[in-house]
Subunit: 198 residues, 2 copies
């Protein structure tokens, strides 16, 4: 194999998350077999996305307008902010249609191991937003991991204001989850937070 654009393409593809050399080669060959249906449209879409999608200056979401469509939506409640680590978490919550408030994307979690401190996250923006007296609740929708919990504690410590409720997602048995496959920590938490059956 010579050192042409195809080899560069395979190398770039293999650097994407979840892809290795073999899957990158497979994708490159698939696209070469479908130049007009896949390869050229994808090149165009990548360029358009890079140009048109920007980070919302209020909440950190990715969208075409700035402020994003969620921040601009007059039908959404302005009293709640749901704090998530990544845009993919925001998308996961939006897919449920169970939440109609505002969001705040941190861009990651505090992590002593990975050397991520408060300055690397979009935390000052969050603290400034929660100072608004209209905000009555901050929902911390962070992972139930060490990093997620330490980030939640940091935020709860820094947005101390009376009349501001700080909540977090309920822990327990996932809907559809089998008890036998769950870890002890989840079962213990689910038992302690048990609710009256109605």
């Amino acid at each position: 194999m010579q050192d042409g654009p195809l080899q560069h393409l395979i190398k770039t593809l293999s650097g994407l998350p979840g892809l290795g050399n073999r899957s990158a080669r497979r994708i490159a060959l698939h696209m070469l077999a479908h130049k007009n249906q896949t390869m050229l449209p994808l090149a165009d879409l990548l360029k358009r996305t890079a140009e048109e999608i920007r980070t919302c200056s209020i909440c950190g979401n990715l969208d075409m307008p700035d402020p994003c469509n969620i921040c601009q939506d007059a039908r959404r409640s302005k009293t709640q902010i749901c704090v998530v680590a990544q845009v993919s978490d925001l998308w996961a919550i939006e897919r449920t249609s169970a939440y109609k408030g505002q969001y705040h994307v941190l861009g990651g979690l505090l992590s002593a191991l990975d050397g991520i401190g408060p300055d690397q996250l979009n935390l000052t923006g969050l603290i400034a937003r929660t100072a608004d007296p209209d905000i009555t609740e901050v929902i911390l929708a962070l992972s139930a991991t060490v990093d997620g919990q330490s980030t939640a504690h940091y935020i709860a410590d820094h947005i101390n204001r009376p009349q501001l409720e700080v909540t977090h997602l309920a822990h327990g048995v996932p809907v559809g989850g089998e008890l036998d496959y769950l870890d002890d920590g989840t079962i213990t938490t689910a038992l302690r937070s048990r609710k009256k059956s109605t």
Copy 2:
């Protein structure tokens, strides 16, 4: 999520081999976080590859010049043709540096189940090439599957010419393979084709 270029990008990515919705979302977000290092260079590479890489009119390999660099290489033997199903198989053989002859890429295998007949493959080109009296050996480097073997039989039947040797890759225990994990067919073949230890 609105129906913007980001959603189209995720949809296009999720149609690539080996990628689903979740991995496509992950890749799209990764690229948006690295617009200048990954997203724009990838768009450019896709466009360049689609424009510059063509199928070799002699052997079916993918390369910038036509005939491809392998067909043009004066140092490679002109007496052997190695028949492979896909360009990825050609690459796999080239990585070994164990073969210095010509190639012929069929573009697939005969398959009754998938409805792929001789007309869908690059077979007439192969039969024409093997009529050249300079060619003394055709190596069938096809998978040891039903489709691979029926394609091999079809080719062997159609390139009948005295002085033309038709060979296939040896079957046996993969180098580094453990006997305990091999199927019975492979072990039987390896036993029957056993060789004198030197």
